[in-house]
């Protein structure tokens, strides 16, 4: 579904990705993990075409992502930091994205789920961080695209909203969607993901199932498994 081959990228002589190869198959729920600055967001932005790699090829459903923009119709994206145009109201933003992209299927349902109705007529700049993230989630999930990319989806969410988010992800999983998640909350990753890609200094350090990572590091949970990797590398 998504194929990343030999992707290299540096920002101002600071190498972030050094020859990354990743393949994500249809129906995979993949967590991209790694310490801060390991290139998770750069990888995601490269797939979305927001970052242009120095070399390497990225294909989505067999087509290069540099050719055309229509492949992004297949992708729903939840950005890490929800930056929205400040002088728009929530309802206007939803309407605008709907108008640009077309075909939202569950906007009303999601607004109800996350309790956004009271904020619909408020400006985005006036919202709290958590509410912004809820709007962000509504925007990402309202289109029924086959690929979901979630960059730190849990940021700022209260426990209730977090549970609702997990339910939402489970639903999408059940539909057979391909999902890519980054997160620093290991318990969350353990609950939702079935495959782990661990990035370290711009390379794939580990790529396998949850069970494999645990058995390889001889740890009972993911958090300790990842910690073992880091200790081994930096010791």
């Amino acid at each position: 579904m998504i194929k990343v081959e030999g992707v290299k990228k540096q920002f101002n002589k600071n190498p972030v990705l050094i020859g990354l190869d990743v393949e994500i198959k249809e129906g995979d729920v993949v967590a991209i993990l790694g310490p801060n600055g390991s290139g998770k967001t750069t990888l995601i932005k490269s797939i979305l075409g927001m970052v242009v790699p120095d070399s390497g090829i990225i294909t989505v459903k067999g087509e290069s992502n540099r050719k055309d923009s229509s492949y992004r119709n297949q992708i729903d994206y939840l950005p890490q930091i929800a930056n929205f145009p400040a002088n728009l109201k929530v309802a206007e933003l939803l309407k605008m994205i709907n108008d640009i992209r077309g075909g939202s299927v569950r906007e009303k349902e999601l607004i109800a789920t996350f309790g956004i109705e009271p904020f619909l007529n408020k400006k985005l700049s006036k919202l709290s961080g958590g509410t912004k993230q809820k709007v962000n989630i509504v925007l990402a999930f309202m289109f029924d695209s086959p690929i979901l990319i979630l960059d730190e989806p849990t940021t700022g969410l209260d426990p209730l909203a977090l549970i609702k988010l997990k339910v939402l992800i489970e639903e999408e999983k059940a539909k057979g969607k391909t999902i890519l998640i980054t997160s620093h909350i290991m318990s969350f990753v353990e609950e939702v993901a079935n495959r782990i890609i661990f990035l370290l200094e711009g390379k794939t350090y580990f790529n396998g199932s949850l069970e494999e990572i645990k058995s390889q590091t001889k740890q009972a949970d993911l958090e300790h498994a990842i910690a073992t990797f880091l200790e081994k590398e930096y010791a």
């Binding site: 932005k45 992004r72 605008m96 640009i100 992209r101």
Partner: protein, 260 residues
Amino acid sequence: MLKVLKYSFYDLGRSRWSYIYFCFYLALGFVLLFLNNDLSKAIITLMNVIIVLVPLIGTIFGVMYYYNSVEFTELLLAQPIKRRNIFLGQYLGISISLSLSLLLGIGIPFMIYGLLKSAAIFDFFLLLLTGAFLTFIFVALAFNISLRNENKIKGFGYAVLLWLFLAVIYDGIFLMSLMVFEDYPLDKFSLIGTLLNPIDLSRTLILLKLDISALMGYTGAVFKNFFGTSSGMIISIVSLFLWIIFPVFAFVLKARTKDF
């Protein structure tokens, strides 16, 4: 692209600055007409103001809009829209809204004053056309600056410098070199010098139309001698077009490889 244009336009329609700009021109138009009491004279004064101020407002507004709408741009980049269309849409959004502010702000007082019955109507339209050209040119230059500078302060700095250079310093250097090399034939040099600065080009264009030799200066006179009034005007309009096309091409090219 039309959808991006629509929303940029919508966004600018709610921005305080569009109205400040509009009110400024409205006040300027009324004051000039009140003081001059003569349409053609007011047009000359207006030319001097437009030629300096429109580029300044275009560059500053362009840079400001770009930096303010980075979030909007990032949101659009994740959608199935071509990059070229995102940036062209935003560019047209600002340029058209600034040109409209100019057109309405100056047009209304002149209309009230009886422009439509006056013989100066063509001069006036040429003036507005030049103002629109300058807006499109300088917003495009502003996009080039802001796309190449992540740092807002730097971007604003370069924008102001660019304006200062083209509106003030360029003329100074130009005049100095005309004086220093006065023993040599300078026709071609001054022709090229004029074509390379959109502000000088606009001034020459309007003065050719108004046919005021006293204000034309050396370059205007050379222009007129060399091309005659009508072909001189055609050449300056074509050059102004090129001054839009090249910067637009340059920022679209830059946008293609930029990381967000």
